[in-house]
Symmetry: C2
Subunit: 160 residues, 2 copies
């Protein structure tokens, strides 16, 4: 299952993303939480991403600045804090699009489960309202996630 | 409006609590974020609360241990991190009942708005599922919140 599933059911406040990776959870986790690797996958092929802060532990903060490669020079800033980090297993964090102002943030739970020789990665993003969630869907988010996961898959292939 | 409204609409993933306080936002905010005062209101009259950690700033953590005054000696532990803190105005944080395990946490947004000479306090707790939210309703949560806010109201009266 090396394709990314993106599920958003009508009326719900979450988006559930599932992806299989051909490496065990510790490798997938280490790759995804390495600040040096973030620019190579997180913003997909469409965005350049700079990691300003990424302290992956309970109470740590993260802040990424992205710029569209072929679009306006305006930076898009995303930031949040880590609520829980269990190596090779779980990350719970907040995510906010900084220019969106308060009231538009996500609670993100990422789990890494062994699946044969690989990993089943599940990302549940919980939004503050159904409208908030629905607002993300037409932004190219789905294509962006699939592309980011394909890039990540390549990095993981190198890391194995 | 010095009564506490607790609103949970069917099928939604949040609980919205609204309360008026007879003091301006900076006083209400300062009272609610003072670790030394937490034991006097947060756990209502039913629980003894000990503040183990309460670092009210972005990326700060909090951890409270409560014990039922007339119940079992088992401590109930709640903890989380602060995503955003704007003095006298806004607190966004996570809240987890530690024994509940992962997957049962809340994203809590608290706003303090001037309302005449007083404050309109709104607390929106967002749950990871409707079932999760519904599970909190029969726990005496509603009575507990009202009682906590009444105690807080008394403290605020002293602080004015």
């Amino acid at each position: 299952m090396r394709t990314t599933e993106v599920l958003f059911e009508p009326g719900r406040q979450d988006i559930v993303v599932t992806r299989g990776f051909a490496a065990p959870p510790d490798v997938v986790f280490a790759t995804m939480t390495d600040p040096a690797l973030i620019p190579r996958w997180w913003g997909s092929r469409r965005f350049d991403t700079t990691v300003e802060e990424m302290d992956v532990r309970r109470g740590g903060s993260w802040r990424f600045v992205t710029r569209h490669r072929e679009g306006p020079a305006t930076p898009y800033v995303f930031r949040g804090v880590y609520h829980d980090v269990v190596p090779a297993s779980l990350i719970v964090s907040t995510l906010q699009f900084e220019m969106g102002g308060p009231g538009h943030l996500q609670l993100v739970s990422e789990s890494f489960e062994p699946d044969g020789d690989g990993t089943r990665y599940v990302n549940v993003a919980l939004f503050q309202s159904v409208e908030d969630r629905d607002g993300w869907i037409p932004t190219g988010m789905e294509t962006g996630i699939r592309d980011a996961h394909d890039l990540l898959d390549e990095l993981i292939g190198v890391a194995r």
